[in-house]
Symmetry: C2
Subunit: 324 residues, 2 copies
C-alpha cells in the first residue's frame, strides 16, 4: 500500500492520522492508492502499537430479564451517544446478574482489548479489583462494597423512594406495603431505606407483614402480592418493574380496584405502565442520562488518570398518574 503510492509507511500513517504535515500532492497519491486497494486500516495493529483500542466495555445484566434489560439498554444508548461522537466503540457484555458469569466476562475482556470498563456489578462483595486489567473502571447504578477509588454514577434511589412513600402517607395511607427483589444491591437497599425513612418521619412503624422481598419475576410479584394482601395494605410500593407486572396481574385478576381499594406506585416509567388500568404512578429513573454521564466521566478519566475520583448521583422523578 505504501509502495503503491510510492511513499513510506510513515507518510501513509501521517496522512491517515493528520499527524504531521504532508504535501497536498503526496496526500493525493496516498488517498488514491487507498481507494484503489480498498484499503481499510487495521485497528488491531494500531491498538497494539498505540496501546489504545478506543473500545469501552459496558458490563451489566442486560440480557438477564426482559425489563432490567430495558433499563440497561437505555443506559447503553446513553453511553453510546457519547462514545460515538468521540469515535469510541461500545462493547456490551452481559453479567446475567450472576457473579460467576460476570467474573468470566471480565476475564474475557482481558487487558489491552478495552480502554475502560463501565459496569453495574452483580454482587456486593467480590474482589473485583483483582479481576480488572489496567484500565479505568466506573461503577454504574450500583456499587460494590469496596468501590475503592473508582468513579461512580448512580441514581438517588433513597430520596425519590421516600418522596413516593411520603406522598402515599400524605394521601392518608397508613398501611403501605413494600415489594422488591432481594435486598442485595445498593439500589434495592436504598429504596428500602427511603421507604423506612418516610414511615419513620410520619411516626409510622414498619410492619414486617407488609414487606415482601423475593425473586424478580412476574410470577413472584403475583405471589408476593397475594401474601401481602392478607394483611390489608391500602397502598403498595413496588420497586421493580417486572414484579409490578405481577402486582397488576394479581389485582386485575382479583378485581381489586386501583386506586380505590389499593394504591400502587411502581418503579421505572416504561411504556407499558401507561396502558394499565389505570395508568401507573411510577418513579422514572434517568437511565439514558446515567449512561451519558458515565461515558463522559469515563472519557475524562481516560484522558486524565490523575483526576480526583468522581461520584455522581442523578435524581429520579416521581411521575404521578392514576394509580395513586
Amino acid at each position: 500500500m505504501a509502495k503503491q503510492a510510492n511513499v513510506s509507511t510513515a507518510t501513509v500513517s501521517h496522512v491517515i492520522n493528520g499527524t504531521r504535515y504532508v504535501s497536498e500532492e503526496t496526500k493525493r497519491k496516498v488517498h488514491e492508492a487507498m481507494e484503489d486497494l480498498n484499503y481499510r486500516i487495521n485497528s488491531v495493529a494500531r491498538s497494539l502499537r498505540s496501546r489504545k483500542s478506543r473500545v469501552i466495555a459496558f458490563l451489566a445484566p442486560i440480557l438477564a430479564s426482559e425489563t432490567s434489560n430495558y433499563f440497561f439498554m437505555s443506559v447503553a444508548a446513553g453511553i453510546q451517544s457519547v462514545l460515538k461522537q468521540q469515535e469510541y466503540h461500545l462493547m456490551l457484555s452481559d453479567s446475567h446478574e450472576e457473579e460467576e458469569y460476570e467474573a468470566d466476562e471480565i476475564r474475557m475482556l482481558g487487558s489491552q482489548m478495552i480502554d475502560g470498563l463501565i459496569m453495574a456489578p452483580a454482587g456486593r462483595e467480590p474482589d473485583y479489583e483483582r479481576l480488572f486489567g489496567d484500565y479505568p473502571v466506573l461503577y454504574l447504578d450500583r456499587v460494590p462494597h469496596d468501590s475503592g477509588k473508582r468513579d461512580c454514577v448512580v441514581v438517588d434511589n433513597k430520596n425519590v423512594s421516600k418522596e413516593a412513600v411520603s406522598m402515599l402517607i400524605g394521601q392518608g395511607h397508613r398501611r403501605i406495603a413494600y415489594l422488591s427483589g432481594p435486598n442485595m444491591l445498593t439500589t434495592t437497599e436504598e429504596r428500602f431505606a427511603g421507604y423506612l425513612e418516610a414511615l419513620t418521619e410520619a411516626g409510622l412503624d414498619a410492619e414486617p407483614d407488609l414487606i415482601g422481598m423475593g425473586e424478580v419475576s412476574l410470577g413472584s410479584g403475583y405471589k408476593l402480592t397475594e401474601s401481602l394482601m392478607r394483611h390489608r395494605p391500602t397502598a403498595i410500593f413496588v420497586t421493580d418493574n417486572v414484579m409490578a407486572m405481577g402486582v397488576m396481574f394479581y389485582l386485575q385478576e382479583k378485581k381489586i380496584a386501583v386506586p380505590d381499594q389499593i394504591a400502587v406506585v411502581a418503579y421505572d416509567a416504561f411504556q407499558w405502565t401507561r396502558i394499565t388500568s389505570p395508568p401507573l404512578t411510577v418513579i422514572e429513573q434517568p437511565a439514558f442520562e446515567l449512561g451519558v454521564k458515565a461515558a463522559e466521566v469515563m472519557l475524562e478519566r481516560i484522558n486524565n488518570a490523575a483526576l480526583p475520583r468522581q461520584v455522581h448521583r442523578l435524581t429520579a422523578k416521581l411521575v404521578v398518574r392514576q394509580s395513586s
Copy 2:
C-alpha cells in the same frame, strides 16, 4: 514474563494455548510466573498475529425504541449463549434503524477486527456489499434486496400472520383492520402479505380504509387506531408491539370493550401483553432461538467458508389469550 519463568516465549505461548507438549514441571513454572506477575494475555497482539479476534458483531436497531429493543435484546441473548460457549465475544452495535447510521457502524466495525457480522439491516436497497470487510455476514430477521449469497436467519412472518387473521375470520370477523409500521422491511411486508392472503382465501376484499401504516410509536398507534375505528372494524391485527400499546391505550380510554366490541391480535409476546385487560392474543416470535441459530450458522461459516449458503426460516407461534 518468559524470563521470569526461565523459558522461551514460545513455551509460554504453548502452555497458554495447549498447543504442543510441555512438561508438567515447565507448565508449573509458567503458571507460577503468570500468577506472580498477574499476567493477562494481550489479545490484541494475539489477534494481530493470528488474524482472528474471536469477536462477532451484531448490528441491529437495538437502541432505537423500547420495544424493538426487547426483541433484539432477546436475539442478542441467544447469540451470546452460543458464542460464550465457544469463547467468542459479542460486540453489539446499534443501527438506530437508519441507513446512514448503520453504514457508519459498518465502517467502524470494518476497521475493528471482527470475525463475523450478524445484522438486521435497516434498509432494503443499500449496497451493503461494498461496505463489508473481509468477514462473513449473516442477515437476521430481515433481508435486503441484494442478500447475495449471504446466510439468512429469519422468522416465517407470512404464515403466522395468515394464521392469526384466518382465526379472526373463523370467529366471524369480516372487517379486520391492519395496523403496522411503514412497509419497508421484509418483516412488515410478509406480515401484510399474510393478512392479505387470509382475506383472499376467505373471499374477502382488503379495504384500504382498514389499513393503517405509520410511525412506530405509542402515539402513532393511538392516532391510527382512532382513524381506523371510524370505519367500524370488528377486529384489529397490529404487527408492532409499541403500536399495540397505542391501540390498547385508545381502546381503554374510549372504553371500547375487548374482545366484545373489537378483537385485538398483536405481535410479540412481551410480558406486558399479559397484564392488559384483557390479556392479549399475540404472535410470539422465537427471538432467542433466532439468535441461537444465527450464531450457530455464523460459527459454521467461520469454520468453513466453502459451506453452501444457509437460509433458515423459524416459525412463530400464535398465542391465543382473551383479546380475540
